[in-house]
Symmetry: C2
Subunit: 340 residues, 2 copies
DNA sequence: TTGAAAGCGATACCAC
DNA sequence: GTGGTATCGCTTTCAA
């Protein structure tokens, strides 16, 4: 019974009209009589006709497909963005390829090569810092959401938070609570994050603007050889063992923050009063923790909306309103800074 | 400078050969002299030739593309599977579409319709319980990973854990620690899970096999109107307030388990000794918690491997070794059952 | 309102 | 070893 796939040609024959007419009816283009319309549609339905997108794409050189390139979908921050971006794109009639680059330039390169071959209409980078050079090859519309590493192309838009300001605000929050010695904790998550420098720069700026002497011993940076959680806990442990005290921690990432909180709890430190901690991303990690961790909401909803909006504009051949969109962030204070 | 995309025809012209020869060289098929080979390849490289997959697909009616249908990629269990499945498929030369069904039959239906039109070579369901009828329409190879809801088709394979046995083992673990009154906690996560009945059935079976009277008051099921965490905490609270005691909890999901643990901690119950708790999935939730939550590892690596293996077999036109693959699970005991 | 036919880019059969 | 050409399914002029 498995009859070959039914084409526009089959329908034309059955309806006694030409393929041109069938195409017109199916796409609601051109003109045709009500009668032919009904006939064609009925037959199409009866035959279970499904347009062959490969043919359509070939003809129109547009696939209604875009690619989502992210370091690792299993990271909750990225997967949330992927979910939202995919949803918005679907609503606009686009399908999404999912590509896990591992933040590896070479792998990204292979992906992009294949995607260009598969004729994607556009690319969305979600997180990471890849810097694949081939990107320049195709002049596809490209949108970067929370992603650094692109080289100057024509049709691209950057969407993200103001990371320097974000770490500045984190630092300010702690000082506002009376902290005097604030540490910076990060596992060099270059694997998942925008450039380390950019991220931390607000911390340094705050210190210098407020005449606070920067203490190198309070800058805790791990190589990210283990999970952020474990590594962060270790860094805190080492710091304390070395005799360097602090009463506040700016943790670049909620996972890091959770590691810090756990390490402090283990040593009997009263988190939220003796030492205040703030993380970033408003992820499940900060919400699950007890005490609940203060954090910074980065607004994935807006990141996705602005990103997709820009991409759709590019795809429509329009000039996007801005090439650099900054999405506002928001400090969420919880127990680790409020105490209790 | 933006020259139109270069085709096989351009190369043929530049090399002074026919498109047939170019195609042969590029695909390492047929025969050609070393000389033409080098010439063609050089020109192709110089011109930055990229095969047009739309054309190739149209001709060969194969897109080297599959679709991943999952309720929600932002769920960490699913996103982990998506990551692994995508990786394995990529290694085999396939691209993956990502589709978030929201576990909604109707939306799934729309997806599948579109995917068939886009000529995907196969479909992988990852989690959920969708039961879209259209699936029967196309006779694509389909693999179900941790997914129930399919109707009998020819070319499909199921890969998953033995869920009834899994909940049986969870229950057994608690009784082995001396628990006498074991509750069952679940938020009817039909949104994310295989059929509730299947999942919980091991709990009931254990009880009946061991002559333990089933107490309805200890079956805590929420409607999943809130996050699992909150809802689970509430269910536990209500149960205790109503005066029904228990010394063990089988939680269908780590999120549920975490909610249970939190609720118990808040009431000053010694989790791991007074009341033992076991969750399921070996997710971040169970590992983050303190006390660490005992759980069941479902083996996402094998789920992905078996699933992709089966799909590749189907795609190659082979008969898969089995149509129902069961991946072993493993109880991981941590503080909430071991105590301290 | 309708249709004939060209063409999108690649493959492969079959001559030469 | 190499090339002409039909073909995949669809859209789109241009005539009728």
């Amino acid at each position: 019974m498995a009859k070959r796939t039914v084409s526009i040609y089959d329908i034309a024959k059955l309806a006694g009209v030409s393929t041109a007419t069938v195409s017109n009816v199916l796409n609601e283009k051109g003109s045709y009589s009500q009668k032919t319309r009904d006939l064609v549609l009925r037959i199409a339905r009866e035959q279970g006709y499904v347009a062959n997108f490969a043919a359509k794409s070939l003809r129109e050189s547009s696939t209604k497909t875009v690619a989502l390139l992210t370091p690792d979908v299993s990271n909750d921050f990225f997967s949330t963005l992927v979910l939202k971006v995919e949803g918005l794109l679907r609503a606009a009639g686009y399908s999404s390829y999912i590509c896990n680059t591992g933040n590896d330039d070479e792998r990204e390169d292979e992906y992009v090569r294949g995607l260009v071959s598969k004729q994607v209409d556009g690319i969305v980078y979600i997180g990471g810092t890849t810097r694949s050079p081939i990107r320049a090859a195709a002049d596809l519309p490209v949108v970067h959401i929370d992603h650094t590493g692109a080289t100057g192309m024509k049709r691209e838009v950057y969407v993200g938070n103001d990371m320097p300001q974000l770490s500045y605000d984190m630092t300010a929050t702690l000082f506002a609570h009376g902290c005097k010695r604030v540490a910076l904790a990060s596992v060099s998550a270059s694997l998942y994050r925008t450039e380390e420098h950019d991220q931390a720069s607000g911390y340094y700026r705050y210190l210098s603007e407020h005449g606070v002497r920067m203490d190198k011993n309070l800058v805790l940076e791990g190589p990210h050889r283990q999970t952020s959680l474990v590594e962060a806990a270790q860094l805190v442990g080492e710091c304390l063992d070395a005799g360097y005290g602090f009463d506040g921690v700016v943790a670049l990432g909620d996972r890091v923050a959770l590691g810090v909180v756990n390490a402090l709890k283990e040593r009997g430190v009263a988190v939220g009063t003796d030492v205040r901690v703030i993380g970033m991303d408003d992820s499940i990690y900060s919400r699950i923790s007890s005490p609940a961790i203060s954090t910074v909401r980065r607004n994935t909803g807006q990141l996705a909306e602005k990103g997709v909006g820009a991409l759709l504009a590019l795809l429509a051949g329009k000039e996007p309103a801005q090439t650099h969109v900054v999405v506002p962030h928001e400090v969420i204070e919880r127990a680790t800074t409020l105490g209790e």
